[in-house]
Amino acid sequence: MVEDAHSRRAADSRVRTGDEVTKADFVGRDVITINDFRQSEILFLLDAADQFETAAPPLLSGRVIATLFFEPSTRTRLSFESAVGRLGGVCIGFAEGGVSSQAKGESVADTVRVVEGYSDAILIRHPKEGSARLAAEFAEVPVVNCGDGAHQHPTQTFVDLYTLRRECGRIEELNVVFVGDLRYGRTVHSLVTSLALFDAKLTFVSPEFLRLPREQRDALDAMGVSYREVRKIDDTLAEADVLYVTRVQRERFTDPMEFEKVRDSYRIDGDTLAKARPEVVILHPLPRVDEISPEVDAHPHAAYFRQAHYGVAVRQALLSLLLDCTGEVL
């Protein structure tokens, strides 16, 4: 059900009325949590990403982007590097904390103060929650949170919303079922409140130990959003427009026994999909381990690899806007 960019914008036109956004709203800005962005700003960015799917002029020529990845990453780091490279910029940085001066005991604050002198923007991933906020306090250049522990991953949310619009034709009023590790899944934490802005119907499927944290539930309550929490995925399949599946993250558990208890809680396979609507869209921020069976990959609406690919256009749009380098594209 892929629609063209014009149709997608038309479908979202109701929410942007009376809330004008311009490129200037993005220039020099830090991207720390998704809650820092108004709904209209998110839609502006998604519209911009549409343009970058077909155009990649050297807008970032002469710009240097620092990637400070203190934790492993494949999609986020490489899609950012791809985005920068395709726009003619250069990336510097590291892909694990062990090769930086963190190994010698350097603080995040000091690392950022040094690196801002080498770069025009800083992309940071760090296992500690709030690390991107702290980094932004010490840097004059824009700081982009690429995942801070179990807290937030706002650029993944931009990608997820973009994927929903591409795959479902709209973001509004979708019935979205989140499955798996909702406790430690930072992509879930970032996505739920933004989906609530779009009147999504939200259902959370997890073992008790991995249920959505109180902060997110309180935020939804404060927004007046009703949602369901269930233990069995079968109860949700008949009405789901989207299954957002997440990995149980071994690296977030301090107690291996707790991990073993919940690691195989859910598995999406052919039998699962047989109970779902034929047009259900399946997303996953990846990496997956066993929670989605390989047989699902052939499903026409298994969108998780396309979701990863959309990340390049979305991140091209974001960096171009932050650095005021949109040229003729926007």
Binding site: V108, A109, K128, G130, L134, H151
Partner: protein
């Protein structure tokens, strides 16, 4: 026969914390972390026309700093603070829970960046009595029982 009373000597110089939430005085005293050089009188569960019951703390020889007062306000937002000099009350103010507190709390979330970096914790105050705050870094909500004072 008159009822027996306990005499508490008047303060020459120091601080009186009055209208503390009944039952909160001992925690408030511990949170202040005062040295042994100060004479401190603690009254617990005293009759109060305003609150029904209240606690009170008198500290001889020490005037509470703003940070110390903010800590007490977190535990007992309706308390009043009096500064005494030469046996006279020179300032009497109701404590006020600030909208934001910095440098007086430690985030209890072991995964919060403020636990490993040398940065003062910063918190948004969400509600009073019982107080809840949100860490401005990790955004965890912290309840009154979880408050970890520096």
């Amino acid at each position: 026969m008159t009822a027996p009373t306990i005499k508490v000597s008047a303060l020459g110089r120091g601080t009186v914390l009055d209208h503390l939430l009944a039952g909160s005085a001992m925690r408030a005293y511990r949170v202040l972390g005062l040295g042994s050089e100060y004479t401190v009188t603690v009254g617990i569960n005293l009759a109060s026309s305003r609150l029904g019951h209240k606690d009170i703390i008198k500290i001889e020889g020490h005037e509470l700093t703003e940070k110390e007062a903010a800590k007490i306000a977190m535990l007992s937002p309706d308390a009043t603070l009096s500064i005494i000099r030469d046996y006279k009350v020179v300032r009497k103010v109701p404590l006020k829970l600030p909208e934001r507190v910095q440098g007086i709390l430690r985030c209890p979330n072991p995964a919060c960046i403020t636990r490993s970096e040398k940065t003062p914790g910063s918190f948004r105050v969400d509600s009073a009595a019982p107080v809840t705050v949100t860490c401005e870094y990790c955004e965890r909500t912290i309840t009154e029982e979880q408050l970890d004072f520096v």
